[in-house]
């Protein structure tokens, strides 16, 4: 009985591993295609047939001024968006949490709109607004649009952090003679930091990836995703693949570097967990099941 159960568990675990591997394979497949194609020595449209290995697209990339300029625009846009959305979102989240006033429900409703409505509706509604107030379309309209769809995410992130927040620490700070501003910068802000950082990171990610909203409000300003869209329409030149590959490599590197403190932490945590699980199994008077089978 116990043996049959063990066998079944082992089999279903194997099946689970295979299943997950297939899903991850599919998730990463198009990225692998892009990376491979960035080294593809083909020079005829539609640039899909494999013709051997080359670095030519990478050197061509650095002479493609329009593509590099679009990448620069995307970075400026993402940084401006992140700063504005994060500052404004943090302040309002704290304000809504701390002070009493009417209409919080209305504000919540306003916040959910950009989250749930399809991006295209947001794009065209801002296009209609900008046209009617005759705001020149370009970087400014892009920043406004991006801040608008990032703001709710910053607020939700900071708010989630505020939910488990211990107000007595602020009171203690005031009792010990700090004024309101000092308390905010030295007590409140550090406690909210993970929520703020999460909101900022999300804003940055949403902004650099946005196609749909930017598509309607960019005027003559090209962002990197819009440049990609243009290239796809005319059959992507593999230097777009090269830039995408570099961006992916850069992001992975950045995350590994910034999280390098985190990684050992995660490993330690996992090790503790495993020890804990093992102990639980031993004390349950059952032989530990198939540690080797774990991924």
């Amino acid at each position: 009985m116990a043996m049959r159960r063990q066998l079944r568990e082992r089999l279903s675990r194997r099946g689970g591993i295979v299943y997950c591997a297939i899903i991850y394979g599919i998730l990463f497949l198009p990225i692998a295609v892009i990376v491979a194609n960035s080294f593809n020595a083909t020079d005829t449209k539609p640039y899909m047939t494999w013709k051997g290995f080359t670095f030519a697209w990478y050197s061509k990339l650095f002479s493609d001024r329009a593509l590099l300029a679009s990448f620069g625009n995307t970075m400026v846009l993402a940084i401006a968006t992140t700063v504005i959305a994060t500052v404004m979102g943090t302040i309002v989240a704290v304000g809504m949490y701390r002070y009493r006033f009417r209409g919080k429900g209305v504000i919540d409703a306003l916040l959910y709109i950009p989250v749930v409505i399809p991006e295209i509706v947001m794009g065209i509604s801002l296009l209609v607004l900008f046209t009617s107030i005759q705001l020149p379309q370009g970087m400014l309209s892009l920043v406004i649009a991006h801040v608008t769809f990032c703001l709710p995410f910053v607020i939700f992130n900071v708010r989630a952090r505020l939910d488990g927040y211990d107000q007595s620490l602020e009171e203690a700070s005031m009792d010990l003679g700090a004024n309101k501003l000092e308390t905010f910068f030295r007590v409140t802000l550090p406690m909210l930091a993970p929520g703020i950082a999460g909101g900022a990171l999300l804003s940055f990610t949403l902004s650099i990836d946005d196609v749909v909203v930017s598509f309607f409000v960019n005027g003559q300003t090209m962002t990197y995703p819009l440049k990609v869209w243009q290239s796809i329409k005319s059959g992507v030149a593999p230097d777009v693949n090269a830039l995408s590959t570099l961006i992916l490599a850069g992001t992975v590197l950045l995350v590994v570097l910034t999280q390098s403190k985190l990684v050992p932490g995660i490993v330690a945590k996992l090790r503790n967990r495993r020890a804990h699980v093992l102990r639980a199994r031993v004390s349950a008077d059952e032989s530990p099941v198939h540690q080797k089978e774990e991924l």
Partner: protein, 290 residues
């Protein structure tokens, strides 16, 4: 309300200073534009194709054009199929990464997020490069003599459904992951101990406790796939337009903005109805989103 100077300084004033900028922003760039779209959907076009503020229901009448109705139906079918496939593939996947292989869940979760870091257009284009007539898959199939001539994988509804499913899959997995992670292990064990076999435990214990995650995942996939015009454009090649394609075309230069506005109102209406259903089943708005 009596004006109380202490109340004013300690609550009203700081509340106003902290809350008004963001609220004004949202009012001006979210609420007003949507009202504007609603107004525009009742406007007409003058002889130069400019928007004229003359009331008409003509745009809504135009929405009933059989060609359009066919595209709404197609768009809803594509969205429903994408949602169903995402759920069918995503539920067991979310269960596996959050519980069965729970000791590695941080890393497994990150691996779902990482593809997000590559622009979604580029990833959809990667599929086109993979599936195209001269793409990698056909090259392999022909090379292995499995087929004589390249197979047309692209430019049909199936390709669009694939693209939508792929692009929105994480939006299904993440809420499911959160819901499944919160499951009470003791209940599952109790169900097993009381003699229930796997499937009946799944449908009587596990699924009912994760209904909220299922609903929010479905909404997060269904609604965007009605509007994601670039996916049907790149992979469907005009043979599988969704409502988003119709709207995008009307807002291209020199086209019919009021008609596009009316189409957008339809999309907003569908969204509101789905969100209402979601809320009435006890869904929490904050668990929508990324």
């Amino acid at each position: 309300m009596k004006l109380n100077s202490h109340e004013f300084r300690s609550n009203t004033l700081p509340a106003a200073i902290t809350v008004i900028p963001a609220v004004a922003w949202l009012a001006f760039f979210v609420a007003i534009p949507l009202v504007y779209v609603l107004v525009m959907s009742f406007c007409s076009l003058d002889e130069y194709y400019n928007v004229a503020f003359q009331f008409t229901l003509g745009n809504y009448a135009d929405l009933l054009d059989p060609n359009y109705v066919q595209i709404y139906a197609q768009s809803i079918v594509i969205a429903a199929l994408s949602t169903a496939i995402c759920l069918a593939l995503g539920y067991p996947f979310a269960y596996l990464i959050s519980r069965t292989f729970g000791e590695h869940k941080v890393i497994l979760y990150m691996l779902v997020i990482i593809p997000f870091w590559t622009n979604s257009l580029i990833r959809i284009y990667g599929w086109r490069t993979f599936l195209g007539a001269s793409g990698f898959l056909n090259a392999a199939l022909v090379g292995l003599h499995l087929v004589d001539s390249p197979v047309d994988f692209l430019f049909n509804q199936a390709a669009t459904v694939l693209g939508m499913t792929y692009d929105l899959f994480p939006f299904m997995v993440l809420p499911l992951y959160t819901a499944i992670e919160k499951l009470d292990e003791a209940q599952i064990e109790a169900s097993h101990d009381l003699g229930a076999h796997g499937l009946s435990t799944l449908f009587k214990v596990v699924v009912p406790q994760t209904v909220s995650g299922i609903f929010s995942g479905c909404i997060m996939v269904f609604i965007p796939s009605l509007g994601a015009f670039y996916i049907s454009d790149i992979l469907g090649g005009g043979n599988s337009d969704v409502i988003g394609n119709l709207i995008q075309r009307q807002f291209q230069s020199g086209n019919n903005w009021p008609l596009g506005a009316a189409l957008s109102i339809i999309l907003i209406a569908i969204t509101l109805i789905l969100v209402k259903i979601y809320q009435s089943t006890g869904g929490d708005m904050e668990s929508l989103g990324v």
